[in-house]
């Protein structure tokens, strides 16, 4: 558990942030300039806020009388620019952290190297590593210092899409293997939705929302902060059987959804991310449509969005789905709370287990 309550005044910018991150991945989400990185620096002890109470697992890192320096905090940081030591090899970078980690019983080098796919890189220098490799070395180095919590500061920002896809599974393994509280600083909603269980939404130095990822992602009042193109809900699903044509049936509270590509084994609980702009709505029975993924839902609420848009909150049993339609279609369909509709999903993304 990371507990933070801090206040710091920058010239022309006031940071007032408080939250308590449980174990697992908590994402600190917000647009650039919202103060995310300053919170990360304050947690790591690299920025001394004017006022702060920071606790990690009950251990006080900072309060009115205490200020632990970074080296005493046991907070591993994976920096956006990775900050690998250029005069050391990959193995020496890991060993550097192990010097401090072994005293506390950190993970063995071979295990971390294996987990992050670094075994073949150990004797390489850091100069000619790819972006994805650098990120993995940085994660491994942070782990080797046996941290009590891990901060990942925009780990994807410096990476292109294939490299991001390369790193994500490693982070998922990390999350599942070690019970570390992890704080993911990010402004990429896709990755946040895929990895995080808890969300802290920052805007202009303040916490705009805090809570479970599923709840916040389906909150229509946050659509503007998430961005209309990216906003969308997370819904729970269970992997079913894979048909001969390559599609796998996945059961949700609103009915079956069919997904192509690699999925976890049958019976696994997964989460699906469905962006609001990828959901179309229909009233009554529809036929003759190529879309396979149709869910039955009930309209719960409507919220105007932008000049001509409307965010529709749909209920699927206990869960919520967001759809973005034009106000004109909402009027034409007569959308109102309580109405049963068909939600046509144009794209469904697997958001991790």
């Amino acid at each position: 558990m990371i507990e933070v309550d801090l206040a710091h005044d920058f010239p022309g910018f006031a940071l007032r942030v408080g939250f308590a991150a449980p174990s697992g991945i908590t994402a600190l989400f917000g647009p650039s300039g919202s103060g995310k990185s300053s919170v990360a620096l304050a947690l790591a002890g690299l920025l001394r806020p004017n006022r702060a109470v920071i606790r990690l697992g009950g251990r006080v890192l900072q309060d009115e009388t205490t200020f632990l320096p970074p080296q005493a905090r046991r907070i591993g940081v994976v920096f956006q620019d990775h900050r690998l030591f250029p005069h050391l090899t990959v193995k020496q970078n890991l060993d550097y952290a192990r010097r401090f980690g072994t005293a506390r019983g950190g993970a063995p080098l071979a295990e971390v190297a294996d987990l992050l796919g670094l075994s073949a890189l150990l004797d390489r220098g850091t100069a000619d590593l790819s972006g994805g490799e650098r990120a993995r070395v940085a994660i491994g180095r942070a782990l080797m210092s046996d941290p009590a919590a891990l901060i990942l500061d925009e780990p994807f920002a410096a990476l292109d899409a294939p490299r991001r896809a390369e790193i994500l599974p490693y982070l998922e393994t990390l999350r599942d293997r070690y019970g570390l509280p992890m704080l993911l600083i990010s402004h990429a909603l896709g990755e946040v939705a895929r990895l995080a269980r808890t969300l802290v939404v920052l805007q202009a130095g303040k916490v705009a929302a805090f809570g479970r990822a599923e709840a916040l992602l389906s909150d229509p009042s946050l659509v503007q902060i998430f961005g209309t193109g990216e906003a969308g809900a997370l819904i729970a699903a269970v992997v079913g059987a894979r048909a001969a044509d390559g599609l796998t049936e996945v059961t949700t509270a609103g009915g079956p959804v069919f997904l192509a590509g690699a999925l976890p084994v049958q019976g696994s609980a997964i989460r699906l991310r469905i962006r609001a702009q990828d959901v179309m709505l229909a009233v009554g029975q529809i036929g003759g449509i190529s879309a396979l993924n149709l869910l039955t839902a009930e309209v719960e609420a409507l919220a105007p969005e932008g000049e001509a848009g409307m965010i529709v909150v749909l209920r699927l049993g206990e869960e919520r789905l967001l759809a973005r339609v034009t106000r004109r279609s909402a009027d034409a369909l007569g959308l109102a709370p309580g109405l049963r509709v068909q939600a046509i999903l144009k794209t469904v993304a697997l958001a991790g287990g």
Binding site: A44, G45, L46, P69, P70, Q71, R73, R74, I75, G76, V77, F79, D81, R83, F85, P86, H87, L88, T89, Y96, A97, R99, F100, G101, R124, G125, T126, A127, D128, R141, A142, M144, S145
Partner: protein
Amino acid sequence: MTDWLAPSDWQALILSLKVASLATLASLPFGIWIAWILARKSFPGHDILNGLVHLPLILPPVATGYLLLIAFGKHGWAGAFLHEHFGIVLAFRWTGAALAGAVMAFPLLVRAIRLAFEAVDPGLEAAAATLGAGRMTVFFSVSLPLALPGVLAGAVMGFAKAMGEFGATITFVANIPGQTQTLPTAIYTALAVPGGETQAARLVGISVLFAMLALILSEMLARRLAARIRGRR
């Protein structure tokens, strides 16, 4: 070689090397420390410290030598203290020449090392701290290794300056053959003697040779170090 150089020339050369080596080695740790402070710390008096370090560069060397004589002469406050407690006498000794060389070389040495420290990404130091490294460890395992080419450049500059130092040396320790007569003061003496031009030319030749050797050597070392530090492959 021995008949090419007169014994007194040899004496001056060896003494110069001794003086410059001692001056460089003794002032290097202190210089690294001051350079680090100037590069990384902000505190009231930063500019004053910077000014003090650079003073020997701006002051006439003779003035520096005179100040050294006042402070470190037998009756000077520092000189009396060193003599009384450690039996060390600096004035009119080769060790005094080393002190004069060190003081004169200090600004150049510190400047080069400071630039090297300033070029080290503070982010790397911060990263080392988050891994659990204390300040001293960060300094010796990250900052200093990364600044090493600059430290080397500073040391070579300091060595060359200490070797060529004249004004402060002759004021503080005079020009005693075999004791305090270094290459520059030997050249000065040779030129003052009728018919001493050949000896002076020889000494100048040696000076040029050593200066070039030192520069080439340090360039080579610095290039290799810098390549290693820019990124290990």
